[in-house]
Amino acid sequence: MRRLLEALAPFTLITLLLVVWEAGCRITGVPAYFLPPPSAVAVALVTDPQSLIEAAWNTLSVALVALAIASLSALTIAMFVGLSPLLEKAVAPLASTLQVTPVVAIAPLVLIWAGIDHPERAVIALAVLVAFFPIFSGAVTGLKSADPDLERLFDLYGANRLQRVIRLRLPASVPFLLEGHKVGAGLAIIGAVVAEFGAGSGGIRGLAWRILDASNKLQTARMIAALVVLGIMGVALHALLDRLERAGMTWWRGR
């Protein structure tokens, strides 16, 4: 009973807020371009769902491609850095500088480099940049996280560097990698949306483009509809990755 209540609680709150919002709009008669009622947003959601789904897919696919590239590059670089403490010292300040620079600030530059005809490359590159760091720092931390006594045993057994990385440090870093990918995936979506805004209209017809397009036309209900889809997409992806992380941990720990 309590569990059912707990499961229903968020939906009840959402319904309540929607009712208040709808009633507020109707009573005050606020213009639809300023604040459309939820019913208008619902209409915007169901009219032309095809293009909305397409836009969502465009954003999602950019984020997923970016996540894959970020994952591969972060792992590769982290492995080299893990093998050489000197390299780590060399990379660290550069990495943290890039990490704290907001992606919107880099966007115009990357757009120029990608070329006017290929805004999608710029959007992917920017999403990669954002998704890279949580995976990279997770991998660097994870590769150093092996039990020091296990490291000593590897010394004792005369393991070479490759054996040490493949058989000890990489498997030991799995929990950190799972966490890094979960955070990285969420950031990849944010990165993709922000980069789409940076790229402006036309190039990539994702959710951000739809929000910009609707905003230019003062179609506020369409803007909110796109935001709703973006929110649902983010929550679904997060839930999926959370599941994956837990399944991964169960496999790793054997329990």
Partner: protein
């Protein structure tokens, strides 16, 4: 014949000063030596010197046991959580280049010897503390070492489990007779398991004295209530007390 010799070794740690020494120890092959001392006396440092995991600041270390002939068991089981018990035990063999199938077969046999038959596929998280320690022992024994080093191996276990494990270690020792060195701060455990108890004084560790225990190994039943056991325990305790006084 000696398996390992520490000759007037001293170990200094930066920022901590002298941890051990001057310290000399000659390990006969097939003997069981206990290093007993208060915490911080450098017993684990001595063990790492014997394992070749660390070098002395001064003095010399001679080790007859070559690569793969020395095994270490730590205070915690130190198993890789992502590997099954069998894969954990096979690891030292696989790292030294033994074909996988052969290594796995030896690992299964070693697990059987420590009483873990049937737990081959279990992950460390599924094993109890005592079982994990047994798996760790199996991993140490699978290479058939000439020198087996145990660093407070039972410290984290309950009294009943540690007593059973002590007997099991002695039975396993009787099969291949490696030289065993183990570190402990438990006087009774030292006297029960070792034929030679070396007492180390409060840090920086030097030898406060040495007691030989003249009784058969593995121990006969009821050894803990014999006069030999009690007298040896008393002797070790008084040496320990004296060793602690010197520095205090």
């Amino acid at each position: 014949m000696s398996v390992a010799v520490l000759d007037r070794v001293e170990v200094d740690y930066p920022g901590r000063g002298r941890a051990l020494g001057p310290f000399s120890l000659n390990l006969a092959s097939g003997g069981i030596t206990a290093l007993v001392g208060p915490s911080g006396c450098g017993k684990s440092t001595a063990l790492r010197l014997l394992a070749g995991l660390e070098g002395p600041t001064r003095g010399t270390v001679q080790r007859a046991a070559g690569r793969g002939e020395t095994s270490v068991v730590f205070q915690a089981a130190t198993l890789a959580p992502w590997l099954t018990a069998e894969a954990n035990v096979a690891l030292p063999l696989e790292l030294s280049g033994m074909p996988r199938a052969e290594a796995r077969a030896k690992a299964v046999a070693a697990l059987g010897r420590v009483g873990l038959k049937g737990a081959e596929r279990a992950r460390p998280a599924q094993l109890s503390g005592g079982m994990a320690m047994r798996a760790s022992l199996a991993r140490a024994l699978v290479t058939e070492p000439r020198l087996l080093l145990l660093d407070e191996p039972f410290a984290a276990l309950d009294e009943i489990t540690r007593r059973t494990l002590a007997d099991d270690v002695l039975d396993l020792w009787a099969q291949t007779r490696p030289a065993i060195v183990f570190v402990t701060h438990n006087v009774e455990e030292a006297v029960y398991m070792a034929d030679r108890v070396v007492v180390i004084s409060r840090g920086p560790g030097t030898i406060a004295g040495e007691i030989r225990i003249d009784a058969p190994l593995p121990r006969p039943a009821g050894f803990r209530v014999t006069a030999t056991f009690r007298e040896a325990s008393e002797a070790v305790s008084s040496l320990l007390a004296k060793g602690s006084e010197v520095a205090a």
